[in-house]
């Protein structure tokens, strides 16, 4: 059932600047791997593609007991490829953050498995999880979460220091250049704008060259211009620096920066869009709202 819902203007569409205008769909021409996910297929991972960076198998998470039980995640199977920028998109309360927490080893699953590369993280203890987060995972938070007493530079290198090492100078310079932070390194978070803080946070997430970076609503606290900047930086990190990024968002225009958008509703995977545009992402989201969850897995991929 093709989705033909009209594109509603999101607040981010208003007053879009040049920086933003070149984004939606811009990646499509650059010959990304266009996976043809069959419209009616109920499984959303593509078997046979290059070994995935992150996998979930029947991943389930419930909160509370008895009457008050909430199934935040309900048997999720999903793969995320290496070297790609994937968005997890869904309405508020659909379980996006929960999925991300489980995939990143921040929280424990009720049942099912999550893998980072070939490591099953659902079976790891706290110590191993800490090491995994330190060495193989990076995070970008909605609230930036920089340490107020440290300068931008100190914040960026902190993960490497926590591991007892020193930052690779060349990689550090590359990151600083790419993220446009050269003039801000000695500033403390309080002296930086939200967009700048989030760019520092991205640099911090990438400094240890992790296998994957998770970002939970990274633009949620930013104005549209800074948001667009941050999103294009994320995309550049993937395109130019070869990183793997998984981003949680409820915003279709943010999802449009990704190579792929995985739709989630009521704790289940509800769709998968390759090379989303704001319109296709919005359409997918709208379909989730208007259709029953079981049918919502059917929306056409491209528009």
């Amino acid at each position: 059932m093709p989705v033909t819902a009209g594109v509603r203007n999101s607040p981010y569409d208003l007053g879009m600047t040049a920086a933003v205008q070149d984004q939606p769909g811009a990646g499509r021409g650059a010959a990304p791997v266009v996976r043809n996910v069959c419209g009616m297929d109920t499984t959303v991972y593509a078997p046979g593609s290059s070994s995935p960076a992150v996998r979930a198998r029947s991943l389930t998470k419930t909160y509370g007991k008895g009457e008050a039980t909430v199934r935040a995640l309900d048997g999720v199977d999903v793969d995320f490829e290496q070297g790609r920028f994937t968005a997890i998109m869904g309405p508020s309360g659909s379980g996006k953050s929960t999925l991300m927490h489980l995939l990143a080893g921040l929280d424990s699953a009720t049942s099912g498995q999550a893998f980072l590369g070939s490591t099953e993280i659902t079976g790891l203890n706290d110590k191993a999880l800490t090491r995994l987060r330190r060495d193989r995972v990076g995070f970008v938070f909605q609230q930036f979460n920089l340490l107020p007493m440290f300068t931008a530079e100190q914040n960026i290198t902190l993960p490497v220091e926590l591991a007892g090492g020193t930052a690779d100078k060349a990689w550090f310079d590359t990151l600083v250049d790419t993220l446009g932070l050269a003039g801000r390194l000695t500033h403390r978070p309080g002296e930086l704008s939200g967009g700048q803080q989030q760019r520092v946070a991205i640099a911090r997430a990438l400094i240890a060259q992790p296998d994957v970076v998770f970002a939970d609503e990274p633009t949620g606290n930013l104005d549209s211009r800074s948001g667009a900047e941050v999103l294009s930086f994320l995309r550049r990190s993937v395109r130019e620096l070869g990183r793997t990024i998984i981003m949680v968002t409820h915003d279709p225009s943010a999802a449009a920066y990704a190579d792929r958008a995985v739709l989630i509703a009521d704790g289940r995977i509800a769709g998968d869009i390759s090379d989303p545009t704001p319109e296709s992402a919005m359409a997918g989201l709208d379909a989730l709202r208007t259709l029953e969850p079981s049918v919502a897995t059917a929306p056409g991929t491209g528009v």
């Binding site: 953050s97 927490h101 921040l106 929280d107 706290d126 110590k127 800490t130 090491r131 987060r133 330190r134 060495d135 990076g138 995070f139 938070f141 909605q142 609230q143 979460n145 340490l147 107020p148 007493m149 440290f150 902190l158 993960p159 220091e161 926590l162 591991a163 007892g164 309080g190 911090r204 997430a205 240890a208 939970d216 949620g220």
Partner: protein
């Protein structure tokens, strides 16, 4: 203005949200009010005990007839006593008298109080428990006294007393011995016939009592060289008194019977005891109360600092909520009052619990006290008075409210706009520190100048003014230090932190955290700094006093013990007795002789054997320089004689004269010392010989006791002097005082350490998101705990180290001022005490971090991602 109702509701709501944080602050107040309560209760126990001991001597007398005032003249004569006894309704009368004499069984015993056998059992605190009351040449003893004398019923004891010839006291003669004859010393033998208990402890402070018939006691008293005044008569009535006052009829009858004496008063026993007790406790005991209350005040001050700090943090964390309230129309006055109300509630509740705790502690102490032999009867239960409840309650509440004034003011400075700003990192705008800087600089400069002046005055022989200036200056300077702490203490912490920060990323995080809120760190450390400064100051002062005293004694007396004999014939016996005593090392004979030295007649020189001398004195290398043909002189003496080292001086006396080479000695007590051989060549007249000895035993006081016993066995009188014992005794006194003072200050230190925990916990709560972020980006639980441990250690360590430095300075200044009268002041560093303080502070800092660290480690990293 709005009514206070919404304020109250707001306050309660906010308190409910911060119960945990307020509890921690409350503990500080709780401890100090408990301290105050215990002090007050201890005061009333002391008063009660004093009263009971005074009342005990009146036994169960119904009334006391007394001559008020002590002019030392008025006394009840025998006739007066008989007249009172004859008054209608009076059954028995007992004059309150005592006589002191030397009571012994062989070598045991000593000066002892004697009391008459009571006319009526009601009129003596003694209760016969075994045997019979004594007749002539008999005596009854309290059990403790019998035990000390090692005698039982039927044994003999001796009493030695001096009989002065009749008329001795009244004689106006120039030389009473010539006119009336010499006083005669006699020893009488008494048989022990009874044991009499002293259940109320009337004689405990006298080491028990010996009862003899009243007639014997009167005879003994009469033979003394001064007559005892009888100013109190105990009266037993036919019918016990019913009320609390003496019936007018009885009063008048007694007054009439004693018309020969002026101003006689007839009171109930209770009234007399109460009046006497009040007289006594008004003095010494008041000093005790003031002394202890000073420490309670220090504890309260530090508690106040902890409270202020806690409230500052709580207010900072509430910034958003407060700003919201301001947005929706709350006035600054309402917020101000709300904070103060919160403090008042906290103060009242914490004080109430503190009073309860204090009362329970005091009661517990009374329960265990009897198992220690205190020598005084103490009550079994505490007596709660309204003062002991109301005073701590008021003090605790008022202090808490006062401590909250500054935080309340910061609450009013929260701008409504703050509600609209992102909530990260709540900080209060620091006020301009200019006033603080100026005031503290003035206090520092003025205080230290005054302290210096005090030291100067003290060193120049006016220690009383010096001490006044030094104490005042020290206090002002310390005030300046505390006030300015926020300006420099964080920098010291940074310096220390730079060292610590090398040890790893967790430490570096900790250092950064410690410095992000200088005001909070400074306030927390300062509370500890005050306690540590005072403790260090006291122990430095005490150690310096001990060292200076040891030094003084060493310089004045080069020996541990000296025995002087009354006549030369016993000297060798005494030396043998001394050398044979356990714990006594080498001995040496020193002969003092009067000779002509270098033309100066009647100069006293000392002749001794250099070998023996070197083995005894505490300056052996000086003693070894003495040889035959030489004389030891101090530089000072040599200067006055205008001679120098190597010059010859002439020593002459009855036997002839010798020329001696001058040897300059640095040891003052070895001035004018020659060899015995040389002294013998010059004179054998007008000499007397002492024995000096070294004590090798560990317990100097015990050895000295043995020496006295050993010497007593030798014929002839001998005088024993033991500067070593003096030093040991002085050291003991200093240690006891120091122990008490440090014990009292420890309360303040404990409160300060609670403050450290408090600050850490509050910081952890405030940094939940940050901790979670760190956990998410790879900080292990261990590293997180390590980070907080380093923070705790850093805050506590800075306070402790600075406190030690200040304490040393103040301690030395005090020693220089007060001890300069003792001669050369030694500046001791009490290393052990300092090590203990440092270890306690560091361990406490570590412990303070345990609970907050556990809470922080429990936070899931997911919290970092939450939107709150």
């Amino acid at each position: 203005m709005a009514s206070s109702f919404p304020t109250a509701r707001l306050t309660l709501a906010q308190m409910r949200r911060s119960v945990g944080r307020l509890t921690a602050a409350g503990v500080a107040i709780l401890i100090s009010t408990a301290f105050v309560t215990v002090t007050l209760l201890a005061g009333s126990v002391i008063q009660g005990t004093t009263h009971d001991m005074i009342a005990a001597q009146y036994a169960q007398a119904d009334a006391v007839v007394s001559i008020p005032g002590d002019d030392g003249e008025s006394t009840f004569a025998d006739a007066d006593i008989e007249a009172v006894a004859a008054v209608d309704g009076v059954e028995a009368v007992q004059p309150l008298t005592a006589w002191y004499g030397d009571l012994r069984n062989g070598g045991k015993g000593g000066y002892q109080l004697f009391t008459p056998v009571p006319e009526d059992p009601r009129l003596s605190p003694l209760e016969l428990t075994d045997g019979t009351w004594p007749a002539a040449d008999e005596v009854a003893l309290t059990p403790e006294l019998a035990e000390r004398l090692e005698v039982g019923l039927g044994d003999e004891v001796s009493v030695k007393r001096t009989i002065y010839p009749e008329g001795w006291t009244t004689s106006q003669a120039e030389d009473r011995e010539a006119e009336l004859g010499e006083p005669e010393e006699i020893t009488e033998s008494l048989t022990v016939t009874g044991l009499a208990d002293d259940p109320y402890g009337a004689y405990t402070t006298f080491g028990g009592a010996a009862a003899v018939p009243a007639a014997a006691l009167q005879t003994w008293s009469a033979a003394e060289d001064s007559q005892e005044q009888v100013t109190e008569l105990l009266v037993a009535l036919d019918e016990p008194l019913s009320g609390t006052t003496v019936p007018a009829a009885l009063d008048q009858a007694v007054q009439a019977a004693t018309s020969g004496v002026e101003g006689v008063s007839v009171q109930t026993t209770e009234a007399v005891a109460a009046a006497k007790a009040a007289e006594k406790t008004g003095g010494q005991d008041l000093v005790f109360l003031v002394f202890v209350m000073t420490f309670a005040a220090i504890a309260l001050l530090i508690a106040a600092m902890v409270i202020t700090n806690t409230f500052q943090v709580i207010i900072a964390q509430r910034t958003r909520a407060l700003a919201l309230l301001r947005c929706i129309g709350a006035g600054t006055g309402q917020l101000y009052r709300s904070v103060l109300l919160e403090a008042a509630i906290l103060g009242a509740v914490a004080s109430a619990v503190g009073i309860l705790t204090g009362a329970l502690l005091a009661q517990a102490a009374l329960l265990v006290a009897p198992s220690f032999d205190l020598g005084v009867p103490i009550p079994a239960t505490i007596a709660l008075t309204w003062q002991s409840i109301v005073l701590p309650l008021v003090v605790g509440t008022v202090v808490t409210v006062l401590a909250a004034l500054a935080p309340a003011r910061s609450a009013t400075r929260v701008a409504p706009l703050a509600a609209l700003r992102p909530s990260d990192a709540p900080t209060l705008r620091a006020r301009s520190g200019r006033t603080r800087l100026v005031v503290s600089l003035l206090a520092l400069v003025g205080g230290f100048a005054l302290l210096g002046l005090g030291v100067f005055l003290g060193m120049n022989d006016t220690p009383q003014f010096g001490l006044l200036a030094a104490v005042g200056g020290g206090a002002v300077a310390f005030f300046g230090v505390v006030l300015s702490a926020v300006l420099w203490l964080p920098r010291v912490a940074a310096g220390l932190g730079a060292l610590v920060g090398r040890t790893g990323p967790a430490s570096r995080l900790a250092v950064a955290n410690t410095l992000r809120n200088p005001r909070r760190t400074a306030a927390t450390s300062t509370a500890l700094l005050i306690g540590v400064t005072l403790v260090t100051m006291m122990s430095t002062g005490a150690a310096s006093a001990r060292m200076s005293a040891d030094n003084l004694l060493d310089e004045t007396y080069p020996y541990d013990v000296s025995v002087s004999s009354s006549s030369p014939e016993y000297v060798e016996d005494l030396r043998d007795a001394l050398a044979g005593t356990d714990g006594v090392g080498a001995t040496v004979l020193v002969t003092n002789g009067s000779v002509t030295l270098d033309g100066a007649k009647d100069t006293s020189v000392v002749g001794t054997d250099p070998q023996d001398l070197a083995a005894v004195v505490n300056v052996p290398e000086e003693a070894k320089r003495l040889t035959e043909g030489s004389i030891l002189l101090t530089q000072e003496t040599a200067d006055t004689m205008s001679v120098g080292a190597g010059d010859e001086v002439a020593l002459s006396g009855g036997n002839g004269s010798v020329d001696l080479d001058v040897v300059i000695t640095g040891a003052g007590p070895l001035n004018r010392v020659v060899t015995t051989t040389d002294l013998d060549r010059v004179t054998d007249e007008e000499t007397w010989t002492d024995i000096w000895a070294k004590i090798s035993g560990a317990d100097v006081t015990a050895v000295l006791g043995d020496v006295q016993d050993a010497v007593a066995q030798v014929d002839g009188e001998a005088f024993v002097m033991g500067p070593a014992a003096e030093a040991a005794q002085f050291g003991q006194v200093v240690d006891v005082i120091l122990g008490i003072v440090v014990g009292l200050l420890a309360v303040a230190v404990v409160i300060a350490l609670i403050g450290v925990t408090n600050t850490l916990s509050l910081s952890v709560i405030e940094r939940t998101r940050e901790s979670a972020t760190l956990r998410a980006i790879g900080l292990s639980k261990k590293q997180l705990r390590g980070m907080l441990a380093v923070e705790g250690v850093l805050i506590a360590g800075v306070g402790a180290i600075l406190g030690i430095v200040l304490g040393l300075i103040f301690g030395w200044a005090g020693a220089a001022t007060a001890l300069s009268l003792m001669g050369d002041v030694r500046y001791a560093v009490p290393w052990t005490d300092i090590a203990v303080v440092v270890v306690i502070a560091l361990v406490a800092g570590l412990l303070a971090s345990v609970l907050p660290a556990r809470a922080a480690a429990r936070t899931s990293p997911v919290a970092a991602l939450g939107v709150e």
